[in-house]
């Protein structure tokens, strides 16, 4: 059950996803269940628009004062005995964490779910250094057993059915096959509890960092974040620079909003407010605590007036669940720790050139913007990134059809400046296409037009299309 070799490009990986009907069934299942939960809990609250505009204001304000807030936060953390390390790149973050693990003689590492550690590629680095890394979120544990990356930022194993997981546990642990979620969960609990009690180092991400009190807030349902941050002697929290919010009074709003949009809960089961290592006399909590603050392209996003709002994201994953493209191709196709609409806008900045194609993986339908709890205009940023990519001075060699498409668009732009020519061509086209039409649709054409009709039908052009219908699509 090893991971399949990485496809060469987004086009290949998305094609593989698009061809997988079983995957789509699982994604439809899970995302519609999620949207039901969300609708249910949303109905109980007053005004979603008002709520998200409040979230938005807090984030705008926080990001506009990010430099001061980072200083305030880290000052408080250091005063309580935390080691703070600011990493400019993923390499720096990786090296620091591996060196902490080495210096403390850690051999067994337990991790809470953290997309930031996926971003920095932490697990392979720790494993190469001879450490045993155990993902402890149930979904992460499952995908780790399959040697796969997570395919959703909230529900890492969303691409697997309970039967898949039953077969996996049967194969890996030699237990009798079962597809009952209760029994599979009990099996994982027993195995992971052992891991927690024997771990030397715990690592989690951070959802919010409160500057005013110097507190890291970690949100979760299972208790593995609590375990990872209190059981091992050494604890490392990893966060992007954008997670800082100013005051304690701001956090309750975000906790409620995040729970609702991420999982359709009123509040997640556990919210951990962590301020530092354990104090004298305490039984639990780490002896040593480190906080890694990661830039890795975030300050570049901050400097770009259009990109900046992408830093307001609270990583709720709701935009993935509503996205028709995500639901069709699945998270792995994006080949980034951040898939879906939000992934398509942050990945080119955080993961680099490998993700340059992602902004094109959208129909611009705007469902992501409609559900976003901080009102991020994802379609606008997608267009901005497409424009940036298309106007790059070193135009990419990928894919050859793109170069042809650009040439075609230039040709069209020339023609479109002459309305009379366009109208004439339209009329000729309508007449030429007429013999191919059946019931108002053109479904089959000879080469080279079959490149189009092989994939989708084309409505029969009609004389005198109204302005409204011309605006469609």
């Amino acid at each position: 059950m090893a991971a399949s070799p990485k496809p060469a490009s987004f086009f290949e990986s998305s094609e593989a996803g698009a061809a997988d009907r079983e995957l789509q069934r699982k994604l439809e299942n899970a995302s519609s269940r999620h949207l039901d939960h969300f609708a249910h809990v949303k109905a109980e609250y007053s005004d979603y628009e008002e709520e998200r505009s409040h979230s938005r204001q807090i984030k705008e304000h926080a990001i506009a004062h990010l430099d001061e807030l980072i200083v305030e936060l880290t000052g408080k953390l250091k005063a309580r005995g935390c080691a703070v390390y600011a990493a400019a790149t993923v390499e720096e973050a990786r090296e620091y964490i591996v060196s902490v693990a080495r210096n403390t003689g850690a051999r067994r590492v337990v991790k809470g779910k953290s997309m930031t550690t996926e971003e920095i590629g932490l697990n392979p680095a720790l494993e190469n250094a001879g450490m045993e890394v155990l993902e402890t979120d149930l979904g992460e544990y499952i995908v780790q057993l399959r040697q796969e990356p997570p395919s959703h930022i909230i529900t890492p194993a969303i691409h697997l059915s309970k039967e898949d997981i039953g077969a996996l546990f049967h194969e890996k642990f030699g237990i009798p096959y079962t597809s009952e979620p209760e029994r599979l969960t009990a099996e994982a609990r027993a195995r992971l509890r052992e891991g927690f009690l024997n771990a030397d180092l715990g690592i989690t991400g951070v959802n919010f960092a409160i500057a005013e009190t110097g507190t890291l807030v970690v949100v979760e349902n299972e208790g593995n974040g609590r375990m990872s941050s209190t059981m091992p002697e050494v604890f490392i929290a990893v966060m992007g620079i954008e997670k800082v919010i100013p005051r304690l009074a701001d956090v309750s709003h975000f906790l409620e909003v995040l729970a609702r949009t991420a999982t359709g809960q009123k509040l997640t089961t556990y919210t951990n407010f962590i301020g530092g290592p354990r104090r004298d006399g305490e039984v639990d909590g780490p002896r040593e605590m480190h906080v890694v603050i990661l830039d890795n392209g975030r300050s570049t996003m901050l400097a770009d007036p259009v990109m900046r709002e992408a830093l307001y994201c609270i990583r709720c994953g709701a935009c993935l669940n509503v996205c028709p493209v995500y639901r069709h191709i699945g998270g792995h196709a994006y080949r980034s720790p951040y898939p879906g609409p939000i992934g398509s806008i942050v990945s080119p900045n955080l993961v680099g050139a490998a993700a340059a194609q992602l902004p094109f993986a959208s129909t611009l339908c705007g469902a992501c913007k409609d559900i976003c709890p901080v009102n991020i205009d994802i379609p606008r940023i997608l267009l901005h990134l497409r424009w940036k990519e298309a106007t790059r001075s070193d135009l990419p060699k990928w894919p050859a059809p793109a170069a042809r498409a650009r040439a075609g668009a230039r040709q069209f732009a020339r023609l479109a400046r002459h309305p009379s020519t366009i109208r004439l061509l339209g009329k000729i086209g309508a007449i030429a296409l007429k013999p191919f039409a059946r019931d108002g649709w053109i479904k089959r054409m000879p080469l080279p037009f079959s490149n189009w009709t092989g994939i989708r039908d084309f409505p029969r052009p009609r004389p005198r299309r109204s302005k409204i219908s011309a605006h469609e699509d």
Binding site: T185, A249, D280, A303
Partner: protein, 228 residues
């Protein structure tokens, strides 16, 4: 800390070169809900707690508490229990009564380097944990629990059966009110955990399963003195 200064400088530059800062001041914090009538708060709390798979017990008077705990403990098949220090309720009395009725009781307390491993082992071994929450939050059925040397976080995490006591006057309308009541000072000196129901997951086909890593059951006992 050259690394930190460098990042702060980069952020400052980015802010200066990027979009103009939005010209609104810090948004006002949410207005606090009045706490309302205590009976209403308790019934809302009970409803929300049950919706997330917890169970509400009470209200009971401080005098009835020990007996009630024994009933729950028997019903849950608990033979050993770790008992933390109370906030307003005297849990040592409850511990004594539990112990007299034949249940093994571990009292949590300050440890040092030599006693910590043993203390942790005990917490990982017992069937149940009894703790008192600092606040209850009615609108979400949540408990806010601070930890310190006599009230380790593990009390409400490691044992499969979790019992939490909350004093009626500590019931708040919503999360914002509870955090305001706790205040910044509490967060600066303690770890705070918000607990909403038993540990759970929805990672397998989004189906909810209780008791992944933490407690499989959560019983909350509301203590309400008779005299008011």
């Amino acid at each position: 800390m050259a690394d930190l200064q460098a990042i702060v400088a980069r952020v400052k530059n980015a802010l200066a070169s990027g979009a103009p800062a939005p010209n609104h001041a810090a948004p006002r914090p949410p207005s606090l809900q009045p706490d309302g009538h205590r009976a209403e708060l308790v019934s809302r709390f009970a409803r929300e707690l049950e919706a997330v798979g917890g169970r509400i017990i009470g209200p009971v008077t401080p005098e009835q508490l020990a007996d009630r705990v024994i009933t729950i403990v028997r019903e849950r098949g608990v033979r050993s229990i770790a008992v933390g220090e109370g906030v307003l309720v005297d849990l040592s009395q409850v511990g004594k009564t539990l112990s007299e009725s034949g249940i093994e009781v571990i009292r949590t307390g300050s440890v040092d380097g030599s006693t910590r491993p043993e203390s942790r082992k005990q917490l990982a071994r017992v069937d149940a944990g009894l703790a008192e929450a600092d606040y209850g939050i009615a609108s979400t059925g949540t408990l806010a629990v601070l930890s310190d040397e006599t009230r380790p976080s593990a009390l409400t995490l490691l044992p499969p059966v979790s019992l939490v006591v909350v004093w009626i006057d500590r019931m708040k309308a919503d999360l914002a009110s509870a955090l305001t009541a706790l205040g910044c000072a509490a967060l600066e000196s303690h770890r705070l955990t918000l607990i909403t129901g038993p540990s759970r997951t929805a990672d397998i086909e989004k189906r909810i399963v209780m008791g992944v890593h933490g407690p499989k059951s959560l019983d909350v006992i509301v203590v309400w003195p008779r005299d008011d």
